[in-house]
Symmetry: C2
Subunit: 210 residues, 2 copies
């Protein structure tokens, strides 16, 4: 299968499709049309058909897409057939919110270790995980086969945490701190910036109205 | 200026450029090349030049982009020249984290009211804002000229909150609940899903390595 050319925009929409498809299975719905998907997700049905066509022909005209099959395909494309272990550094409000987020388990991604640099936090519990000191990061990453790191520390500490992740062998970093961090090639960094989400939301609000 | 055709991917990158450019001004840097931007943001310099070319020619060969000018341009494109007021519903860990996020002020977006459906939260303070009951939403939205609503409630309550936002006249909704919500046309909904961020991160990790 040729997957090299999938654009970032498509990859970012797939989890949204997956979320809604999962809701459909819970409701017992077995087929869905691109029109239904488009209505529900506020996307153009033609765009959805185009996105899904990247991965081969799944939909049948007048019948729609088989929900289970589509879920399996998207999970396969996003490599959700294996479990990815995640470490989180920074146990403030945001870190706690993310740790408690129940979606992880369903999506085969799981926060398995949490760290903080504040000694008063060591040994406290978040979502059944013990908060560990940073000097245990490297050993824990190796022992638990952690491949993804989440940063929820203040902006000034983010690069330092990223460096520690890289040293420990982490291959993907999701940074929630409001600063730009850098990692060597081979380590993928995504900046999860809800300010950015707000800004792009404002952009589209204005451009829809005017 | 033709801005109708700007793709979602570009609009999502602009806030990231803005973030780094703001960091540069703080450091006193006055010009930046697409190469510098690319190195720092893990993006292809050609992609950056292409993105910025959408808005006219700003960079000069061998000199680079004027940082202040670029910031002004991006702020203008993203309509940051005016202040947008934001309401937030749901004062759990995530709601608290977002309320405290200092970036808002700089980006001319500000959470000016917070709401919860739990009576025990009424009258408590978050970031100097008093938590209000939901039945005050509509009046507050009008009084404070709030145009954007953030949802940080459990998935089961998200659609209900969205409906209340729409009734109150909100035009843009940023949903952090792990469920798909729907709004009438004219109201823009973005799903801020960090599970999606993690999934797309995992996708790229695999595709860079293999």
């Amino acid at each position: 299968m040729k997957q090299d050319k999938i654009s970032e925009a498509v990859v970012r929409r797939l989890p949204l499709y997956l979320r809604y498809l999962n809701e459909l299975t819970i409701s017992g719905v077995q087929t869905v049309s691109s029109q239904d998907l488009g209505d529900k997700l506020d996307l153009n049905p033609a765009q959805i058909r185009k996105d899904l066509a990247y991965f081969g022909e799944f939909g049948r005209k007048g019948v729609g897409y088989n929900v289970h099959y589509l879920i399996e395909k998207i999970r396969q494309i996003l490599k959700l057939d294996k479990i990815l272990n995640v470490a989180l550094v920074g146990t403030g409000n945001l870190g706690r919110a993310l740790s408690n987020y129940s979606m992880y388990i369903r999506d085969n991604m799981k926060i398995v270790a949490v760290f903080d640099s504040d000694p008063s936090k060591y040994g406290t519990f978040i979502n059944r995980l013990t908060v560990q000191p940073m000097n245990e990061l490297s050993e824990t990453v190796k022992r638990l086969d952690i491949t993804i790191g989440i940063i929820t520390v203040p902006a000034t500490e983010a690069q330092n945490v990223a460096d520690r992740f890289v040293e420990a062998g982490i291959r993907g970093i999701l940074n929630f701190a409001p600063s730009v961090i850098k990692a060597p090639s081979g380590v993928r960094v995504h900046h999860a910036d809800f300010t950015g989400e707000l800004l792009s939301l404002a952009y589209y609000m204005d451009h829809e109205k005017s």
